[in-house]
């Protein structure tokens, strides 16, 4: 009994240190970044396009647009390919092939380091876009493709989980009524798994927004707002990474403020994902 009490105290200490470490980090980011945002005016910080740190101007609008554009592009790609793979894996593929070959391959995709993705992007994708589609090659398009592939495993695995969670009776009932498997999929299964799929997309978006290294290498990082798929772009994360090492004083605080912005975006995305999966749990009668 005494041992149990001792263990309980030890575990409490461990849990406290874990939680407080995370809380410390959150507090630190907000403490460094928020005052500057308030001082400059949050609206000014977010909507101004003037990022000239040496002159004391900190407007991150082009980077926000950049992050959104690149993320949107990435989600299109990861939705088409990722959801496609998930549907195939769960509805149309013989199970041995699915778990033995396709699933491991997709998990491997998740393990490749981001710098390798960026490198392959710069070496192969960027020249291709420059030579055949125009523009400098470093572009929203290149970033979207690279990010889409990186985020794909997330979308696939969560969507596949959602599809597998649909009760068998749905599928069997539909087939019994005479529908083809594809009709079953898009009229019944996808609708039933929709909230899970939405959660997958939102979590994928969170991953895409947060990626740094690969994007720095293929995006071009100008200061200007991107105006087309082929124009170069700078994202919020690239901005931090490019300038972090030497930034001091207000400039450093501005980067922390960018971090706060990212934090808030992720929190919003996570809240939506949580709400969506709660709705799904409620529907399933849990």
């Amino acid at each position: 009994m005494k041992l149990d009490k001792f263990i309980r105290v030890v575990l409490l200490l461990v849990a406290l240190s874990g939680v407080s470490g995370l809380a410390l980090m959150t507090a630190f980011i907000f403490k460094e970044g928020l005052p500057l945002m308030v001082r400059l005016g949050v609206a000014d910080f977010i909507f101004s396009s003037q990022w000239y740190p040496s002159e004391g101007q900190f407007g991150i609008a082009p980077m926000i647009v950049g992050s959104l554009a690149v993320t949107a592009g990435a989600m299109v790609i990861s939705l088409v390919f990722g959801l496609g793979c998930a549907i195939l894996l769960t509805q149309f593929c013989p199970p041995r092939l699915a778990t033995g070959v396709i699933k491991p391959c997709i998990e491997l995709l998740a393990g490749i380091p981001s710098v390798v993705y960026g490198f392959v992007g710069v070496t192969i994708l960027v020249p291709f876009i420059r030579d055949y589609l125009g523009g400098p090659g470093l572009s929203v398009l290149a970033s979207s493709i690279v990010l889409g592939v990186m985020v794909l495993p997330t979308v696939t695995s969560i969507s596949a989980d959602a599809l597998r969670a649909v009760p068998r009776s749905y599928r069997e009932g539909s087939i019994a009524l005479g529908a083809t498997e594809w009709q079953t999929t898009h009229m019944v299964m996808l609708k039933a798994a929709m909230s899970g799929i939405v959660a997958a997309v939102i979590l994928g978006m969170g991953r895409a927004v947060g990626e740094t290294m690969a994007v720095i290498m293929v995006a071009g990082n100008p200061l200007a707002m991107p105006d087309s798929l082929l124009s170069p772009v700078r994202t919020l994360t690239s901005n931090i990474a490019l300038e972090m090492s030497y930034a001091a004083g207000d400039h450093r605080k501005a980067l922390f403020a960018t971090g706060v912005t990212l934090f808030v975006i992720i929190m919003i995305l996570n809240t939506i994902a949580l709400a969506v999966s709660r709705r799904r749990a409620r529907r399933a009668g849990l």
């Binding site: 491997l108 393990g111 490749i112 710098v115």
Partner: protein, 278 residues
């Protein structure tokens, strides 16, 4: 014109297969591309010697050592703390608003971009705590980065253990701690292990955050306060500076093979464990 459902079905299946095959093709292409250019330059010397002449010659031994130290230390810190936190939250406390808040916080933090952890680490560990650019700064930064993931996956795994197991353990007269270690953790191990393996993978791939906390020195790290360059950072610097493409490809090959091995190991050990328990 009405298209027969069977036809749409066939078209759809063909499209889905195309999409999947393309995805796998991309994966295979990336691996083949790197290995084809890098494998010829892998040699015993590459794995056992230090880089010379700005990295144009020699090997990557300090980088391998650096990666092992930083990643090993990070996981050695984060795994016990994370699993312990998860155990405490699920087994020793009641479900409350606090635990829900902690869960939400961990979920958010698991999704925060790693560059922000790098921001935090480069100011807090490197400067404020005075650790400088070092293995220690890098490892602590990585540990905080992977902690939320480990907490969440461990918690999910522990909660997935059926209540019955716990009741039976108590019924047999075991203490709570015995129940936790011998019953719950044992059943939850595959899930926990997945979280840890994911964290290892994320740590190995991490670049930007490490450059600003562990630095990028070429030398062999001999103490926790030495700066160290991990394999990812080395590959990044080599490929961006263009100093030696063969060495860059070779480093990337080692990275990819390491990732492959870790994934295989996790996969194999999971299957063995699941087979044993079921």
């Amino acid at each position: 014109m009405i298209i027969r459902p069977v036809t749409t079905h066939r078209i759809a299946v063909a499209a889905l297969w195309t999409v999947t095959v393309l995805t796998i093709a991309v994966l295979l292409f990336i691996i083949a591309f790197i290995l084809a250019q890098g494998a010829p330059h892998l040699s015993v010397e590459f794995f056992t010697s230090s880089p010379r002449s700005m990295g144009r010659e020699g090997g990557v031994l300090p980088m391998i050592v650096g990666t092992l130290f930083v990643t090993g230390l990070a996981v050695a810190i984060a795994a016990p703390v994370g699993i312990g936190t998860a155990v405490y939250l699920t087994e020793y406390t009641r479900e409350s608003r606090l635990t829900a808040l902690i869960r939400f916080g961990a979920d958010c933090l698991a999704g925060i971009p790693s560059i922000i952890f790098g921001l935090f680490g480069s100011v807090f560990f490197v400067i404020t705590l005075g650790m400088g650019l070092s293995v220690l700064s890098g490892a602590l930064t990585l540990a905080i980065m992977v902690l939320p993931t480990i907490i969440r996956t461990s918690e999910e795994a522990i909660r997935a253990v059926p209540r019955v197991y716990r009741d039976v353990s108590y019924g047999l007269g075991g203490t709570r701690w015995q129940m936790v270690t011998r019953v719950v953790l044992r059943s939850a191990l595959p899930g926990i292990a997945t979280g840890v393996v994911l964290s290892i993978g994320r740590s190995i791939s991490e670049t930007a955050a490490l450059m600003l906390t562990a630095g990028s020195a070429l030398g062999m790290p001999r103490s926790l306060l030495d700066s160290a360059r991990t394999l990812s950072v080395h590959f990044y610097i080599l490929s961006r500076e263009g100093l030696s493409m063969p060495k860059a490809y070779a480093s990337a090959s080692v990275l990819i093979v390491a990732v492959l091995l870790i994934n295989l190991l996790a996969y194999w050990s999971m299957r063995r464990f699941v087979a044993k328990v079921t």
